[in-house]
């Protein structure tokens, strides 16, 4: 059974995270609404990527990483002892900064997650592959070379392939860790359009260095600084009338 089915809002209370002795995240409290794009902004090293990775427990892979606090997706506690981490990650997909297609065919890349969760029938897989590639609006570009290696694609295509690969797991939430920072403006534009389309069906959380990007695509924006969540509000509020002086100084480019 999938306890996360249909649960798309995230609620975090009193999150503290330590790498060894280093206190990397301090008392983070945030409610991320469903079917919206939420952006995390802030200078390098402020903890925004670290926090993003706690949402699908990728921080479990980091040694010496200790975390406290209450994490809920819908009403499911994702740090409970009996949480099925693989099921969590199936439902909370992740797209990384650097496109990371597997060294296999485009088809096999997309079919990886469905196969992981036991779908082996070819007709079913074919359907998922086509649907996922269509949702990532890359189907027309690759439909004639599904059996070709994914590594032969351009960087922008690879990133959209990785998005399609995540979508093939049928996630409820999609985490994106600076997904366009390695891409040219045209590819970036395509991915931003894509996010606008995808948020009809799922919740998107994106970490970005690019404030214009946050302003363009995000419904909500959270500003992180030195491991703290300084301000979190509707994007237009953050960018036009921030309540905290630090937020204002950052968005006007005066530090960071």
């Amino acid at each position: 059974m999938n306890p996360f089915q249909g649960k798309m809002n995230i609620s975090v209370k009193d999150c503290n995270l330590y790498y060894g002795d280093f206190h990397a995240l301090k008392n983070i409290n945030i409610e991320i609404p469903e079917k919206k794009v939420t952006a995390f902004i802030g200078p390098s090293g402020c903890g925004k990527s670290t926090f993003l990775k706690t949402l699908n427990r990728m921080n479990d892979l980091v040694e010496d990483c200790r975390i406290e606090g209450e994490y809920k997706i819908g009403d499911v506690d994702i740090y409970a002892k009996d949480t099925d981490i693989n099921m969590l990650r199936k439902n909370v997909g992740m797209v990384f900064q650097k496109p990371n297609p597997f060294p296999m065919s485009i088809y096999d890349n997309i079919a990886f997650a469905p196969r992981t969760f036991g779908i082996t029938k070819k007709s079913e897989l074919d359907e998922i592959v086509e649907l996922s590639l269509r949702r990532a609006s890359i189907w027309d570009e690759v439909k004639d070379r599904l059996k070709k290696s994914a590594l032969g694609m351009s960087g922008g295509q690879q990133q959209r392939l990785c998005i399609a690969r995540s979508l093939a797991a049928d996630p409820q939430i999609l985490l994106m860790d600076e997904p366009t920072s390695a891409l040219d403006p045209i590819s970036t534009g395509k991915i931003e359009e894509l996010m606008d389309e995808l948020k009809k069906d799922l919740t998107i959380v994106i970490v970005t260095h690019n404030m214009q990007q946050a302003a363009r695509i995000a419904d909500k924006t959270a500003f992180f600084l030195l491991g703290e969540l300084v301000e979190y509000d509707d994007t237009d509020v953050i960018f036009t009338s921030p309540k905290d002086e630090k937020t204002e100084r950052y968005i006007t480019g005066r530090f960071g």
């Binding site: 199936k90 597997f102 060294p103 990886f112 992981t116 290696s149």
Partner: protein
Amino acid sequence: MKNLNSAGNGNRKLFFALRIFCTVALGVSLLCLLAVVAYVLINGVTKISGDLLFGDYSVSPSILPAIIGTLQLVGISILIAVPIGVASAIFLVEYTNNKGRLMRVIQVATETLAGIPSIVYGLFGYLIFVVAFGWGYSMLGGGITLAIMILPTIVRSTQESLVAVQGGLREGAYALGASKVRTIFKIVLPSAAGGIVTAIILAIGRVVSESAVLILTIGMVVKDIPASLMSPGTSLALDIYYFASHGYPDEAAATAVVLLVFVICLNLLAGALGKIIKKSTGETK
């Protein structure tokens, strides 16, 4: 202020001398290699005959027992060393995160083992299998000793191939909900397969060329095809030693050609297989 261009020019003579030296050094290396290969071929090729390759030793000297023996030794040692070596490397890289104290101990151990002269492995095999187990000289004892000898190399090269797999691929698989085992078998191992196969073939090359270990463990019985794995026997490399030291220089030269061709083929195979695997996993553009 010092002129940077003239400073560079001042060193030009030195660079030129260095370049000449490197060119000469390369020439000498190539010459040595060519001389050995040419010498072996010129002396040996004409001495190869059907009788030598496949004849009956009771009629005239034959390397058929050595060919069969070599294949047996390769089979035994690879069957033992590859599963153990690859599994050890997977454990080291994927489960201990390639660092920590255990890792360092094993690192030093494998490096030391890889550097031990093969005669020491031979002595070990002799004392254990021939004497302590009471097997006498046997192909099995020799094969196991060879397996122990190539194990560190296989562990090390597999480890390097695994470490070379981009971390992003593992993260990508975990982020899709794949378990550790699935990530290792479907993503990491296929990506590292080219390097692992190359390591195995180079290990076969070492088995084929080894002689010191075998003198002490399989007994150099050149005349008979081993009846079973518990029988004594010989290998191509041992036959060269035997022929050369027992007054058969022509046969020694011919055997050397066979061995040389075998090793060259193995190396070509290693390169080709590596490329094919890379292509099938899509690593080339």
